[in-house]
Symmetry: D2
Subunit: 350 residues, 4 copies
Amino acid sequence: MFFASDNWAGAHSSINDRLSRESTRFAAAYGNSELDKAVEARFSELFERDVSVYFVSTGTAANSLALASVARIGGVVFAHSEAHVIEDECGAPDFFSGMRMIPVDGAGGKIDPTNLSRRMAGFPQDALHHGRSAAVTITQATETGTIYTLEEIDAISAIAKANGLPLHMDGARFANALVALKATPAEMTWKRGVDVLSFGGTKNGCWCAEAIVFFNPELATDFGYIRKRSAQLFSKTRFISAQFEAYLEDNLWLDLAGHANAMADRLRVGIGALNSARLAWGTTSNEVFAVLSKTSAEAAKEKGAAFYDWPVAPAMQDAIGEDEVLIRLVTSFATTPDDVDQFLAICKAA
Amino acid sequence: MFFASDNWAGAHSSINDRLSRESTRFAAAYGNSELDKAVEARFSELFERDVSVYFVSTGTAANSLALASVARIGGVVFAHSEAHVIEDECGAPDFFSGMRMIPVDGAGGKIDPTNLSRRMAGFPQDALHHGRSAAVTITQATETGTIYTLEEIDAISAIAKANGLPLHMDGARFANALVALKATPAEMTWKRGVDVLSFGGTKNGCWCAEAIVFFNPELATDFGYIRKRSAQLFSKTRFISAQFEAYLEDNLWLDLAGHANAMADRLRVGIGALNSARLAWGTTSNEVFAVLSKTSAEAAKEKGAAFYDWPVAPAMQDAIGEDEVLIRLVTSFATTPDDVDQFLAICKAA
Amino acid sequence: MFFASDNWAGAHSSINDRLSRESTRFAAAYGNSELDKAVEARFSELFERDVSVYFVSTGTAANSLALASVARIGGVVFAHSEAHVIEDECGAPDFFSGMRMIPVDGAGGKIDPTNLSRRMAGFPQDALHHGRSAAVTITQATETGTIYTLEEIDAISAIAKANGLPLHMDGARFANALVALKATPAEMTWKRGVDVLSFGGTKNGCWCAEAIVFFNPELATDFGYIRKRSAQLFSKTRFISAQFEAYLEDNLWLDLAGHANAMADRLRVGIGALNSARLAWGTTSNEVFAVLSKTSAEAAKEKGAAFYDWPVAPAMQDAIGEDEVLIRLVTSFATTPDDVDQFLAICKAA
Amino acid sequence: MFFASDNWAGAHSSINDRLSRESTRFAAAYGNSELDKAVEARFSELFERDVSVYFVSTGTAANSLALASVARIGGVVFAHSEAHVIEDECGAPDFFSGMRMIPVDGAGGKIDPTNLSRRMAGFPQDALHHGRSAAVTITQATETGTIYTLEEIDAISAIAKANGLPLHMDGARFANALVALKATPAEMTWKRGVDVLSFGGTKNGCWCAEAIVFFNPELATDFGYIRKRSAQLFSKTRFISAQFEAYLEDNLWLDLAGHANAMADRLRVGIGALNSARLAWGTTSNEVFAVLSKTSAEAAKEKGAAFYDWPVAPAMQDAIGEDEVLIRLVTSFATTPDDVDQFLAICKAA
């Protein structure tokens, strides 16, 4: 019953097998092996377009360096106020890009286009004292478990493009969103106007596999230097490539995300049927936010369930009773139906 | 015959097995699992002292963040002019620490104490315009395959201490040096006055395992923030811990380094006996620098040997003939006696 | 009728005379002249305490370097959401300090202590992912013309101290606030718990004179390096010292600020008596915010009055008619009663 | 007898008069006044070309921001090993530009073209690990009082251009060099291939007037943001403009530099005729380097002469006796023939 985060899971056996095989070989370092090249080509195939791909060590690195690649001095980046780049990266995006993150509100963890336009209007290109708009970043799936529809991405993208700004997507849970939307990688990214993508594999079955994908390779001209100067160029890069090779083979990544989403569905359905719990808001990815009676939550923890309490936003405070608690439950490729059912049974019993 | 670099090798089977086992488990993320704690404790045991240990993704990250941890504004760091932090990290140490790297010359890739003192005298603590001395860093084993004796470390350390400066050791090939010196980890580090160590595992059988070790945990008070802000905190950190667990178990790491050094010895002896080649200078680690006839070098490459030509320093230019080439040969845990013998045979035949 | 900003004024004749005298002399550069030392001592006298004083070129530099002096990696700084460090410095405070500015709301341009506590609670000292509280900054007088009472400073200071955080004051209009409060420099700063002060002279009769004052000189140990590395160490520093010498002599600075405040009072009283205009909110410094009929505003501009329209905050939008405009009027040492009366007459006539 | 540095002088009376006049006026802040625009236009006239001009507070700021304007991540800047950007700016150029300064040797304080080519060859555009060439900077007049001939600038420029690199000139003593070369501003800069110039006025009669001049305004597209973010945008910028207006009027600046150079000539001739002193090396600007008997030096200091001892480079050590000392003497617009003669007389007597 490990629902604390999808990064509590280990690595999928296919990924592990591929790493094992890789471990017995010699190959060129620093991304120059044939495997590295092959996996880079695989990304172009996947996205139906020539892309430039760079591997880095963490999701924070992927976001920070992606933003560094579009940095302008005095620039600001618009992100949802609950975005990982604002809430969970200790200022790394600001450090690497030299830009400020400007929070934009919006329901359901998604940037509201009207708010975005209003915020952006405050940072015109000649705002020497205030700072100028430089980029927009969205998270797909969002930090609150929701997913931008393709039309919603279009709306954000249109504002970015109208202002001449690049659009970045933090895809730490890219696969979960993709499966939920039944879209292709191309449809959810560059066909919507996304310029740079943080493509995450770690939360979905790899143990360490994060990529930055540039849909216009010209944007990446300097990126090799950005990565190396940022201490993110692995010597044995091919071990990242190996993970991605297995990850993308035979749609493994989509199967794993599909499984995680299905386990979340099972949780959603189960919680909906409980008296002692309810969904805090609707989600369609592998994250479930629920209001539990404190009794249930304590019982579950006591019996070994791992999950985090979630901070209650001011707007929600009235909706949550004194004997209740807001929690986040995250499923992964490694979650089993039994895990879910056991958790639900404990809540029911409590 | 992969002698290009020790980072062309894969991962040792024990490391790989340990990773495989780890992949099937759930555990807390971001370094909070029991395994992470256990391995941190293992480092204290290894160094016979309470140490603070932080894992990062690359050797460049280890060096850069170690220097960031002792950074002073306007500070300069003294390093050998051929040091990795100067030659091979694209300015990352400068970027993360905000300090300048000041090259110090010395024979055999080792900082000459007299030169160090002279250089340091130019950067006193009140040198507002010039900059002030802030740290010293040495590489063990050095980039040119040599090894500081314990006495030589003492000499550098004494100068650092006399000037109130911390001493950092870049131990990308720490194990190779340790085995060659027949010293203990403590004897080669804090007993000599080393304050912070980049402890590398990647070149010696891991696929990605670099640690920063603080011998005085008080120096590391802010380091958690430095690492996170530098985008170097892995979510699944325990996969690094797992590698280090296997690496340090039953002296595996020393055995692997001992093997690599022995293979280098075999090369050294073999090359010494050739007519068409000679050692460029004496080394005692797993790196061998040799002057080969161009004919031999080409023959070896043609038959599949991988190695790099090495730039000829001005002082050596007269010693190398027009039909000769200076090359670097690096052995690793994965090098076999056959690899070596085959290479030597090709050279002999050429 | 130059009400656009107090930095549109020139320099007071006493300042100018002192500069003229200084121009004929030779003296040591980089702050090492006797005049520099004397003026530094004058600051200690002024603040009734041993202080460390450093001159820089701009108010943005003063704020940015002051925050750099208390910087912690991963740290965040709490500032009012309309503070100059957030709104008007193009990210310079973030750049020099490496910290993020966190906006805190509060009526009248002043940080609300309850909001501050709430915001700060989100950044505890172990918030590795989110970032940790590192400093609080307040502006006195504020950007909206209001002034913190001594008790209000106490309230902010108490929160900062309870959390172990340094308190910075942006005193770009320090003198205007001081005169309005009838307080001593000591009473408005370190006796309230202020640790570092940006002490501005430029807006109040100097042409370029900004100082950073450390009330605990130990905080300034590294500051000489911070300033030099930030390119803010003037070679002919004594020309800043000379301005401050004249500025502080015989209470000139307080007289000038008193005059500016009085001119603002004259504006406030006059506007209060008009039918076509009203005060937008109460202010007690040299800034006046007024709602004018568009007719009046245009007439004034046509007849040579210089002032800026001010953005209308969402909460005020209903209070301002379609044929009205919100404007800011700033007075200075150089504003004359005639300027004010002429402006009022135009508004009345329109 | 103030020969310590040209920044020990005050300000020329014409500069001072112009500042006095300016002090009585109101005008738009932040470089938007008519005077600011007029002086910017004056620079274009001066350089016979449309240029973009930005004022900053210090020479260190001018150099650092100029280099920031041509910064490339992973880039290195080639400068003479005795250049101000390496020796005297406490790492500010590295901080603002994010690049490393690579020292290049050369006789007489001037970059040797052959050495430059050799150094540059080590940093090709694909040197991911080592870093890539990004800019060249020369100082005119140099820190050792010498001056690049136009042909020598051509030689450096040709190497920069052949490698696609911008050429920066540190013109802290631009006027002294110009007068000595009898060249026009255009001939000494963009006609030689200089792209960005630090144009200094402070050492030659202003009290604070430094400009960055872009000969191709397209290079300056982002520079307004670089300056503001670097805290270098003065609110009362027009006081810098006023200084430059007077400085450039009726060739005042050339007259002042001519005077300083003439005073240096007087020193050179006088020292050449002494028994107890000799010129250390030939200079043609307003700096004179001399070897004095310690007796003479002490006598001069005792009688009020101000000058600095100069570090003796290893190559010169044999040429300087134990009872001798190497000193630097700098003249300025404010140096009088009497100052010089008095100094010479003391040396002669000693």
